[in-house]
Amino acid sequence: MQTELLEQPNTPTILPIETLQVMPMIKMSARNVDAFFGKAQVLHNISLDVPANKVLAIIGPSGCGKSTLVRCLNRMHEVAGGTMAGLVLLDDRDIYKEDAVRIRKRIGMVFQKPNPFPTMSIFDNVAVGLKLNGLATRRNIGEVVERSLKQAALWDEVKDALNKSGVSLSGGQQQRLCIARTLAVSPEVILMDEPASALDPIATAKIEELIHDLKKKYTIVIVTHNMQQAARVSDLTAFLYMGKLIEYDETKKIFTNPSIKQTEDYITGRFG
């Protein structure tokens, strides 16, 4: 499947494989993705690979299509009424040929604004995905909730208040609650769309630390406006500008020695 794709004309091998020490396993790939809202084209021919157990940061100025790109990766783009063309592969299989509900279980998403379910307790907020997916048995549900909250570094703060409402938490705690909710259904890939943009520096640091831990088990794609954050948490960085993928490389390379002038300008703050 993979080789077949590589043989297609106009399909560049996007990942700079030679720069990585080990041949990585590719978890997700976008192949010539175009995305539209009505007639307006928002993404132009985007191709990139996301290796397993790595963190990919997507950076770029506001409105360049970062959110749209990650939403194409778990079929949320169509929920907002958008359309797309091209291929998105998860483990070399086209996610647009499979059941969207099942795909979204495998590819979790954390949103920019924390969005816990307001009428549910902390416990139920984490358990809700299990119940939806029929993964729940009475016995394991408590265990999974505890494990997910621990992974999201929230357990110690809420373990005595699991029955309190999810919205009674602070913004940073709510965001970690949403991360726990996503982890509870054991996705393979986690997409985060500016997960820390509404948070203070301490809460942000916690989330970044969390991302570090999570990549042992998950493949992560994070959208961020914050260059330092991208540099700190990611292994690979993709720079998007006006719906086009300008440069995609190892984070170290992008931030120290980008090959394209536009990337350098953006990173050094000359525009955007």
Partner: protein, 318 residues
């Protein structure tokens, strides 16, 4: 002591830096407050006036007015129970019929319908609310009641007569007709408020559930969970509408002050008895009894509407 002084100094700061207050703003604030207060005063005055006018029966019967079933102007014996029962029972029937329909339509409008379809459909439903109730009443007499007598009641009693609700002779006029007509009349209000409540739930909530791998139906269920207090409010508003509805009900309910569990039997509501008998109330006691019923109706509708508004606000305000 010095602490107190410094505290009062700090409280002065925001006053000094606050923008200059304009005379117009102040005047506007006070005039609007006066108008708002006037509405409240009007309600209180109405309640007080009714209480005063109803004094003779309140003093004679006390609380038993609520539990007595006789209504005999000749003997000067009055009890409100058949009317209270008729009002609550007909409203309940209306809700049982209208509720699933309204919520179903509201879900369709806010969650399922394509964007171009929602406005015209909403408009049609709100149009139902604008039809005068006398028109509903006439339709009830000429279309609904004959259909109930000839088709619906015989059918129900043939198949469901093991349930006491569906026993008795098919008159056509009665609780069933009143409940059905009321259900059509409360449908628009329950539907449109439920739809507003659902639409007020932020899109991020829908995305949250879908991104967790919820199906459309599961996502709607979660949204309904968020919206339930608001929808309950919509139902209460519908109930308030049903309880106060007069004309259409009076025309089809049969106007008989009896208490019966059968839907086929005629009944009487508080609003109907007021409309029908007010002109005949020649004695002071008769008038007082009617006004006491009006007072009850007034109290019940105010309480229900306030509760309903509170619930709807609690959801849509955020």
């Amino acid at each position: 002591m010095s602490f107190v002084v410094s505290a009062s100094q700090t409280t002065k700061v925001p006053v000094a830096t606050s923008p200059k207050r304009h005379f117009g703003d102040v005047a506007f604030k006070y005039t609007t407050t006066i108008f708002a207060g006037f509405v409240l005063l009007l309600v209180l005055l109405m309640g007080f006036e009714m209480y005063m006018q109803a004094k003779p029966t309140i003093e004679k019967f006390g609380w038993s007015f609520l539990t007595r079933t006789v209504w005999d102007p000749v003997q000067e014996e009055y009890g409100a129970l058949p009317f209270v029962f008729g009002t609550l029972f007909s409203s309940l029937i209306a809700l049982v019929i209208a509720l699933p329909l309204s919520i179903g339509i509201a879900i369709f409008l806010s969650e399922m319908a394509p964007r171009w379809l929602e406005p015209p459909l909403s408009f049609l439903i709100e149009l139902l609310a604008g039809i005068p109730s006398i028109v509903y009443g006439l339709w009830g007499i000429f279309v609904l009641v004959p259909w109930i007598r000839i088709s619906l009641e015989p059918l129900l009693s043939r198949h469901l007569d093991f349930i006491p609700l569906f026993r008795g002779a098919p008159y056509g006029y009665g609780m069933l007709a009143a409940g059905l007509i009321l259900s059509i009349m409360v449908l628009p209000i329950v539907t449109s408020i439920s739809r507003d409540v659902l639409k007020a739930i932020p899109q991020t909530q829908r995305e949250a559930s879908l991104a967790l791998g919820a199906t459309k139906w599961e996502s709607v269920k979660l949204i309904l969970g968020d919206a339930k207090s608001g929808i309950f409010g919509a139902v209460l508003l519908g109930l308030g509408r049903a309880i106060g509805e007069t004309m259409a009900v009076t025309m089809v309910i049969g106007n008989t002050p009896s208490i019966s569990i059968s839907l086929f039997d005629p009944g009487y509501t508080m609003a109907s008895v007021l409309a029908n008998e007010f002109t005949e109330a020649t004695t002071a006691m008769y008038l007082s009894a009617l006004i006491e019923i009006a007072f009850l109706l007034f109290g019940i509708t105010i309480i229900i509407n306030m509760l309903a508004r509170l619930l709807v606000w609690s959801v849509t305000k955020k």
